[in-house]
């Protein structure tokens, strides 16, 4: 109480009305701190679940801290490997109604979305000629094991268009041997360009400008081609710096989270509970 009232008095004594504790640090100090912590450059890609919500109203320091504690606790019990959109991933989850009590699914990761405990990823594969997509909650405790069979990226950060692509682009062998990624080498980018099935498609891929589609324009129906001029073409979005700031993550946040992860790891290692490391990067490994 006393501290509170004294804190409120600070506004009388100093000329500046803003509170220096809450103000953002200068970019130089953050960069120095990032070097000290050993900041992973690809942090937002490897840990999209540790980013802040793009809806600013939903950002709350306390809630995020509690959420991150839960996430780290879970990561101590299950090994969540590094994987990207475009990697081939196998997930083993327990299911009470199956005879084997567990289910393994292999597929290409086509989407990673949402932040925190809400984080989801979608795997896609073609089974007996039928495209199957399974959405997993990353922190669902029924997931027993996540394996990255092939660590690679594609040209896009969202492969939702595979649903309209020829089935051979999303067919993967369930008995695929995992391919080891040599530590310290950059993540390979698979530059496959996908051929789409004839239109109609689920979405108008010709206007999204996906790099991984081969000639989406000629596949589009004349109706939509004629409509292009009437549609909002979001070409200007890449110049919208404010939108990029609002939706992207800041170095300050990344460094703070990385510190929390490291502190958590060190505590658990010191207590002799586990030797698992949460903070890893295949490209930055030595």
């Amino acid at each position: 109480m006393l501290r509170r009232s004294l804190g409120s008095l600070r506004s009388f004594s100093s000329k500046c009305k803003s509170e220096p504790q809450t103000a953002s640090k200068s970019s130089n100090t953050i960069r120095k701190e990032a070097n000290l912590v050993g900041h992973i450059a690809a942090f937002p890609e490897i840990y999209p679940d540790f980013l802040q919500s793009p809806v600013w109203n939903r950002r709350n320091a306390l809630k995020e801290e509690l959420e991150r504690r839960d996430m780290l606790e879970r990561r101590m019990n299950i090994d969540i490997p590094e994987f990207y959109v475009g990697s081939i991933v196998a997930v083993t989850s327990s299911d009470s109604n199956l005879g084997a009590k567990e289910h393994r699914f292999v597929g290409i990761c086509i989407r990673r979305e949402k932040e925190g405990l809400h984080h989801q990823f979608t795997l896609r594969n073609t089974i007996e000629g039928i495209g199957v997509e399974i959405m997993y909650d990353l922190y669902n405790p029924t997931i027993k094991k996540i394996e990255t069979l092939k660590l690679e990226k594609r040209l896009d950060s969202d492969l939702s268009y595979l649903i309209d692509a020829l089935p051979e682009y999303s067919t993967f062998d369930f008995h695929m041997e995992p391919l080891a990624h040599p530590a310290g080498t950059p993540i390979p980018i698979n530059e496959t360009k996908v051929k789409l099935k004839p239109a109609p498609w689920t979405r108008r891929w010709e206007i999204f400008g996906c790099a991984g589609i081969e000639d989406s324009w000629s596949g589009a129906t004349p109706w939509f081609k004629r409509k292009l001029q009437k549609t909002k073409v979001n070409d200007y979005e890449k110049y919208d710096l404010v939108a990029a700031y609002r939706e992207g993550s800041t170095l300050e946040h990344e460094v703070a989270v990385q510190k929390q992860i490291q502190k958590f790891e060190n505590e658990r290692h010191a207590a002799g509970l586990t030797r698992r490391r949460i903070l890893r990067s295949a490209a930055a490994a030595k």
Binding site: N60, K63, S94, S96, Y139, K144
Partner: protein, 401 residues
């Protein structure tokens, strides 16, 4: 500002805030119609809460500043005075007993999982510095206010009005009238206030601090708050109307359509139309408390609660017949009650190997999955049983042994 602060302290027999309010209420209350869905103007008969801005802009010299510091310090001196806690206990709660509630802040929504793997979306509520501001007896309340006339002696018997404040704030922002009620209770100035109806057997003491453990994990609660303010919205969003076809329609895709053409061919009051949506008081009852973080004073409630993130919400015990609280801290939780729940802590310590210092002090509902435990593995016992006999096979009589 300064003058008002000093008078607030020195002149104790100043005109009563409550009496003042009654006086003004009798004069003005007829001019404004209250009790509508939402009221966007402050109540005219209550004194202003915030100190007018110009009084803060007066430059202060050093001696004045020091005096002001002293005054503010003295305002909070009674805080932490010993309260008589001999009555507090974890006991059975009677049918007619109504406990106080808490004034909480909604800080977000998180998924949690049950031990059988189902996902539950929870609302996370933070209990910020809750204190009892005042306790008004039903007689006083009846005399004092129009609301008291309606609520002090209701069908559930006489009800005390307990005002709870939350979130400490800078006293210089507020007017004398507003600050006086906190000075009387000897607690710091609060940003948010909420009132609860309480029976005599569950009366807390003035100035008492309230804890998140006032609620028990597994109990059901009622949440009251103002819904999200959507502003002026059309009929499709506000009332869920269907709108009109997308094709072969011009400029009427989202309009409500024909109105008042049946019978008397007029529009009756209450016709659903576009207008202001949200920012109404809404109560949701029967929400289960699933997890409580005692260190951070955070309550996880199953389901959603009215209002946007960051809004203030009133939480109280659910009064639905089957969802009433049977046993809990009465009148409220105090630190000395902690020893009673030691058994469950021992159990928790036995099952997990993680030392206590590394974890928050938390209470979980038994059906909630703890992230410290390993992944869920099912056995044959967990599989869903077939509802009846397998009708594809012939019926065979059981042989008795």
């Amino acid at each position: 500002m300064l003058r008002s602060l000093v008078t607030g302290i020195s002149s104790s027999p100043a005109p009563e805030w409550a009496a003042n309010r009654l006086l003004v209420a009798t004069c003005i209350s007829n001019t404004q119609q209250r009790g509508r869905r939402r009221t966007l103007t402050p109540v005219p008969w209550l004194p202003p809460i915030n100190e007018p801005a110009h009084s803060n802009s007066v430059p202060l010299n050093d001696t004045t500043k020091k005096l002001l510091e002293k005054v503010i310090e003295r305002e909070g001196t009674r805080f932490g005075e010993e309260l008589d806690n001999s009555k507090a206990a974890i006991t059975d709660i009677g049918e007619s007993t109504r406990r106080v509630g808490l004034v909480v802040r909604k800080i977000g929504m998180l998924p949690q999982w049950t031990t059988n793997g189902t996902r539950i979306l929870c609302t996370v509520l933070e209990v910020v510095e809750n204190n009892v501001v005042s306790v008004t007896s039903p007689e006083d309340w009846y005399k004092m206010s129009a609301i008291g006339k309606r609520k002090a002696f209701n069908r559930n018997g006489p009800m005390w009005k307990v005002t709870v404040g939350s979130i400490n704030d800078d006293p210089t922002k507020y007017s004398v009238g507003y600050r006086r009620q906190f000075n009387r209770a000897g607690i710091p100035i609060k940003q948010k206030l909420g009132c609860f109806l309480v029976t005599e057997d569950a009366l807390p003491q003035t100035g008492q601090s309230l804890d998140a453990r006032h609620f028990v994990v597994g109990q059901y609660i009622t949440a009251t708050g103002k819904t999200i303010d959507w502003g002026f919205q059309g009929g499709m969003h506000r009332w869920g109307m269907r709108g009109q076809p997308t094709r072969r329609t011009t400029k009427s895709h989202r309009r409500i359509g024909s109105v008042g053409s049946v019978g008397d061919a007029r529009i009756w009051p209450g016709k659903r139309m576009p207008g202001h949506m949200g920012y109404e008081w809404v109560t949701v009852s029967g929400l289960e408390v699933i997890r409580i973080n005692n260190d951070k004073q955070v309550i996880y409630v199953k389901g959603s609660v009215p209002g946007d993130i960051g809004e203030t919400i009133l939480l109280k015990d659910c009064v639905q017949e089957e969802k009433k609280l049977k046993k809990g801290p009465l009148p409220t939780w105090i630190p000395s009650l902690e020893t009673i729940s030691e058994e469950s802590e021992e159990e928790a310590a036995a099952e997990g190997t993680i030392p206590k210092e590394l974890l928050h002090n938390e209470t979980f509902s038994p059906k909630i999955f703890r992230f410290t435990s390993p992944s869920i593995v099912f056995t044959d016992a967990d599989a869903k049983r077939a509802a009846g006999r397998d009708k594809t096979k012939a019926k065979i009589a059981k042989v008795k042994k």
